[in-house]
Symmetry: C2
Subunit: 251 residues, 2 copies
Amino acid sequence: MELDDYIAQSARQSQTMADAIAAALRQAISEGALADGAPLRQAELAEKFRVSRIPIREALLKLEREGLVETRPRRGTVVTALDADAFQEILEMRLALESLALRLSIARMQEPDIAAACTILRQTEDALRDPPTTHDRSKEFETRWGEVNWQFHRALYHACGRPRLLETIDNLHLLFARHLRVRLEIIAPTRTGHESRDVQKNRSEWAGVVQEHRDLLDACQARDVSRAEAVLERHIRLNGDELVRRLVAAR
Amino acid sequence: MELDDYIAQSARQSQTMADAIAAALRQAISEGALADGAPLRQAELAEKFRVSRIPIREALLKLEREGLVETRPRRGTVVTALDADAFQEILEMRLALESLALRLSIARMQEPDIAAACTILRQTEDALRDPPTTHDRSKEFETRWGEVNWQFHRALYHACGRPRLLETIDNLHLLFARHLRVRLEIIAPTRTGHESRDVQKNRSEWAGVVQEHRDLLDACQARDVSRAEAVLERHIRLNGDELVRRLVAAR
DNA sequence: CATGCACCGTATGTATACAATCTACCGTAT
DNA sequence: ATACGGTAGATTGTATACATACGGTGCATG
């Protein structure tokens, strides 16, 4: 997918070009279309998006805010590269803030909130029952699954009614997901002969995740804060530590 | 203090005008020189800072990132107004993240870190022993004290070695401190006749804060994580809840 | 042969100029 | 009198053009 395609999606729903471009770049970077440290030259992007460098610069500033890119004055902007330490740090922050959001959320959760989370959980299960067959669809599936997976978490936190907290959590997740994807591709690139085994392995991993989600929802319904937090902590830690381990092993 | 003065301070140490202007505006807003909801018109700022609107726009984008201002497309930028709920939210986030930072910090603290915190604590005590006499100096004193107070917290968290975490905490504190200042001015404006009583009251409050800081440092030296966290939580909560109470009572 | 310096290409930072849109005011019609 | 629509002013968003600093290459020199 080229940058040109990203822009078309968000062009009309944003009120300014800078916003649309920021959204397009955000998605492109998040999907791993640009490698760690890849330079983002203003003139090049301006040509691609058919705008001047002004909205490009403003879009890059927004991305810098989110930690997706880094700019050194007069030396340009590059996609942020996160090492294992940074990954660990983001994980710890997620743990602290998502625990907080969950705790606050449980106290204020109503029926509709639980119903929404339940619906998404079912979608997750459906997605899991319909595994990808070809290699091309495997990656698409992975992306889709990652999204719906995060939607579930968001649904649980939504009732907390803390906009800044939710925004920060979203931001951290974005960073997390991007580097999760990039690193996994580097560490375990899907080779032609090993597709099915990789998918198989992921399927069983994901089944575990779904189970944890179910536990989480149960605890929320029961308004059992301490159990919910324990499950969430374990949930995040399991996935995160697993990855940090692979990262450390790979370097 | 006029905006022109702010710029002079940071003009030479920043590499771009946008950065310098962002720093100047940040300080101005933080000090409460601009009221909640005050409009920041680009042309006006451009004239004040003797630059074009381009670096102004970029500075405003940086401030938007930090939550100090809010921009609605084609409708301009205003200083962010925080209500009691937002204040509560920021307090909760501080609690979660500062606890995390402190916990991580204690595990990695070395002698120099403790010595640095100790030095700052002593400065705090000195500042307290030298109270302001005139009304003009009272506000200046308050600002200075707030800074050194925060420096102590920073010193404690510094050893954690988590740059993103520290940045986020700093950002939250900036928002917190700004609105603390603005709200207190609104709620209890220092009238000519009541200066000394106000200062007196603040002095006893602050003495309590210093005592808590000492407890905190003790717990860190003893590497007693749970005690340190308990003291910190109580410390932040006391100050915060006190303010939220006043805010709610005042509206 | 290594090292330091000067020049040039390239990319970013900023100024000026133009376009688009929002707000406020005023006139008109009901 | 009030509500509605249109126009003018002001303000933001973007394009184009210019200024400036960084990095590399080549040459001169010790």
